[in-house]
């Protein structure tokens, strides 16, 4: 479904050259829920932008559904970390969710309205259609962004540290929402985070990235039961084991690749 092959991204400045991503190769199968976890500043956002077609890689390529990604492809939706800046403040919640659907000429009006309503109901926001995003709490705003993404009916949902800026309780709720939506809709999810607990709790697979310049340090299959909940899953011995392992790997990755990020 999604293939990242030998991806490299170098930012060329006037004086300096920053190698954000050195060489990344991994695949995401259809219907999978993969978490990308790595130390802060390891180029996670850069990677996600390359996958979404928002940024051109320096070398290597991203393949999506058998085609190389050269610009934002159809069938891919993105949820950004900065919910406050990714929702249109001049549009109501409903109009925000509806906006990406306007381009689809084939979609009838009633059908479009149904998609919007279902998406908002699925994230638990059936009653705020006419509010503006800035009238809602941070957690609710991120729910709107998630609703917009699922109303778009993507094959792949990309999420860039979507819960980094919300409080811990809201975060737990939103994590469960993502697991729930993934199971119900059968959408493929690629979830970027710096939080190890979150990666292990959410993912079917965790891809551990090294510090910048980034390579894949390890891929871990999360063999926890599919039915997860905050209380019991996090108390499982296997959860603690996996968490410990990912933590170790990240520490190793940080130490092992202590190559200066800035050269030249």
């Amino acid at each position: 479904m999604l293939e990242v092959r030998g991806l490299k991204k170098v930012y060329e400045g006037r004086q300096r050259r920053v190698e954000a991503i050195r060489n990344l190769t991994f695949t995401v199968d259809a219907g999978d829920l993969v978490c990308l976890v790595g130390p802060s500043g390891c180029g996670k956002t850069t990677l996600l932008k390359c996958i979404a077609g928002l940024l051109a890689p320096t070398a290597g390529a991203v393949w999506f559904g058998g085609r190389p990604v050269t610009g934002p492809p159809e069938g891919m939706a993105v949820v950004f970390q900065e919910y406050g800046r990714s929702l249109f403040p001049w549009l109501t919640v409903r109009a925000n969710v509806e906006l990406p659907l306007r381009r689809r000429r084939k979609l009838r009006r009633a059908e479009r309205a149904r998609l919007v309503e279902e998406a908002l109901a699925a994230v638990g926001l059936a009653d705020v259609h006419h509010a503006y995003p800035w009238q809602l709490s941070g957690g609710m705003q991120q729910r709107v962004a998630i609703a917009r993404a699922i109303a778009y009916q993507p094959q792949v949902l990309l999420m860039d540290e979507p819960f980094a800026a919300v409080d811990a309780q809201t975060r737990a709720e939103l994590e469960d929402l993502i697991r729930d939506l993934w199971r119900r809709l059968g959408v493929t999810v690629l979830f970027v985070t710096h939080d190890i607990d979150e990666a292990v709790y959410l993912g079917q697979r965790v891809i551990i990235l090294s510090a910048s310049p980034t390579v894949v340090a390890e891929q871990v299959t999360v063999d926890l039961p599919a039915q997860r909940d905050q209380l019991h899953t996090r108390a499982l011995p296997r959860f603690a084991e996996l968490r410990g392992h990912v933590y170790e790997q990240i520490q190793l990755a940080k130490r092992g690749t202590r190559v200066p990020a800035v050269t030249g």
Binding site: L54, G71, V78, R85, S86, F88, P89, W90, L99, W134
Partner: protein, 258 residues
């Protein structure tokens, strides 16, 4: 209710006090050029009859509206273009800075040569002077569109028309409105100035006529009327702005309180 009274009192307090000071200090003025306010107000009622409003104020306001609208349409359109394309900006910026630096009233004699002395000349003068704040603010507004919103629009594959309508124009609208507000006062000034050259009607023309014929109270009353018109137009502008930018003011309040 008390809040409303309080606000009305605050808003009206100073104007009333100033009028009172004017009234009292000119009460027994013998100065020919500074008649008592009482005389000016009487002249106001006698001068600005319906016929006069129709003959002199209406054409002025019509030219103001036409010039302002022209400046708005051309300014916003050009601003959107210049703000969106870096090469257009690089090409035009030095020239724009030059033209902006020329005070519009000095263009009146030149524009007169090309556009004659009728309505067209006055409308062009107003538009040429008022376009700059609109144009430059629109350019700034377009350039400051949030990157995350731009990425969001691209990721969801909005087409060019949708990008313009739902992203760029609304994102730039607070700045565009700022430009339009500045342009409104410039337009009023130029409306008067353009009528001081070669004109046969209009507010500016009438006031100059009164001054030349030593109808001093009438001249003062014309100035009062100009002030009133400017005030009413800015109130009207505020009302429209509050509707159009309701989201922006709400967003700002939400950001301040969090």
């Amino acid at each position: 209710m008390r809040g409303v009274l309080r606000r009305a009192g605050l808003a009206l307090g100073l104007p009333i006090a100033l009028l009172a000071v004017w009234w009292i200090s000119t009460e027994d003025s013998q100065n020919f050029y500074l008649p008592p306010l009482r005389t000016i107000l009487r002249a106001f009622v006698e001068t600005w009859t319906l016929d006069r409003l129709r003959a002199d104020v209406a054409p002025s306001l019509a030219r103001l509206a036409a010039g302002y609208a022209l400046a708005g349409i051309v300014g916003v359109t050009l601003g959107l273009l210049i703000g969106s394309f870096r090469w257009i900006r690089a090409l035009l910026e030095p020239v724009l800075e030059f033209f902006r630096a020329i005070p519009p009233p000095v263009l009146v004699p030149i524009i007169m040569l090309f556009a004659g002395i009728d309505h067209t000349m006055k409308i062009v003068v107003i538009a040429v002077g008022a376009i700059w704040p609109i144009l430059l603010n629109t350019v700034e507004g377009v350039r400051s569109v949030d990157e995350v919103l731009v990425d969001t629009s691209r990721a969801f594959r909005l087409g060019p028309v949708a990008r313009l309508r739902y992203l760029i124009v609304p994102a730039a609208s607070p700045q565009i409105v700022t430009g339009l507000r500045q342009a409104l006062s410039i337009s009023i000034i130029l409306m008067v100035i353009s009528e001081m050259f070669a004109s046969s009607n209009g507010l500016g023309f009438t006031i100059i006529e009164f001054q030349r014929s030593y109808a001093i109270p009438e001249m003062w009353s014309g100035i009062l009327l100009l002030g009133l018109i400017g005030f009413l137009l800015s109130v009207l502008f505020r009302v429209v702005e509050n509707r159009v930018l309701a989201w922006y003011h709400g967003l700002r309040r939400a950001q301040r309180s969090s």
